[in-house]
């Protein structure tokens, strides 16, 4: 029987909820970023992202993000490889995917930069008033 408690989405108004929202917002960007480095299969993407972020970021609904990106034509199958009794489907970025990532990165940096610099002023704002 499924563990319903583990599957419940964190609610908004909690730190876990915010974390999930951020993860959701950047999932596509992270998939595109990883595939820009080299073609990967789904499980590899998941493992690599966890490793490269020191376990801070883990993918949720990665397979749906891959499906979405494929539907939009941003990624495509790069080939299949048999490893033991496993069949791995590798994905790679398309030209449209490259362009999309090039659009996403500055937008992301602008947002994060603005928010970071604002948060760095915690307690220093409106001191004169």
């Amino acid at each position: 029987m499924a563990n319903t408690n583990s599957s419940r989405a964190p609610r908004s108004g909690t730190a876990a909820g915010m974390r999930e929202s951020i993860k959701k917002a950047v999932t596509e960007m992270m998939v595109l970023f990883l595939l820009r480095q080299k073609p990967m299969y789904t499980y590899e993407m998941s493992q690599e992202l966890t490793r490269l972020t020191g376990g801070v970021y883990t993918f949720n609904t990665l397979y749906l993000a891959i499906y979405r990106l494929q539907e939009h034509g941003y990624i495509t199958e790069a080939g299949k490889q048999e490893a033991g009794n496993r069949l791995r489907v590798y994905f790679k970025l398309t030209d449209a995917g490259q362009r999309y990532l090039d659009e996403l990165l500055p937008t992301y940096r602008e947002m994060i930069g603005a928010l970071d610099s604002l948060l760095a002023q915690d307690g220093k704002l409106y001191k004169e008033e």
Binding site: S7, R8, A9, N60, T61, L62, Y67
Partner: protein, 136 residues
């Protein structure tokens, strides 16, 4: 492996999907494929771990809806409303028919349908009576 868990997961997520049956089937197919791929890489992984990679049913449903054209949910909601109205009309019609039938029997105090068949034979002195029809 985990057939019943996957079925339950798809059922819970499916209840949150506002899309056509074909799109739901696509969601189920993607989910099963993802579980299969994960178990291929991590054989014997416990279900909660597998489910974590899928995301909660709510997250998965929301992520899947994002992959569909923006007017899908609206279109489906309209079609769903139309189907509900038709179903309500059908239920009302059946109910009205039942009420009508009950009212008929109440007003007529019950009706017994009797089928009666009469055969008259005119017999003269020279003729013999034909065999009686088998009424059974």
């Amino acid at each position: 492996m985990y057939e019943s868990e996957v079925k339950d997961y798809c059922r819970r997520a499916g209840s949150l999907l506002a899309c056509s049956r074909a799109q739901r089937q696509q969601f189920d197919r993607l989910t099963r494929q993802s579980v299969q791929e994960y178990l291929q890489e991590v054989p014997g992984a416990p279900w909660p771990e597998v489910e974590r990679t899928l995301g909660s049913p709510e997250e998965a449903a929301s992520a899947f809806m994002e992959s569909l054209p923006p007017d899908t949910a609206e279109h489906w909601a309209g079609a769903h409303k139309c189907r509900l109205r038709l179903a309500a009309a059908a239920v009302c019609l059946v109910f009205a028919l039942l009420v009508g039938v009950i009212a008929f029997f109440v007003i007529t105090k019950g009706v017994a349908i009797i089928e009666k068949e009469t055969t008259i034979y005119y017999l003269d002195d020279n003729s013999s009576m034909p065999p009686l029809p088998d009424l059974e």
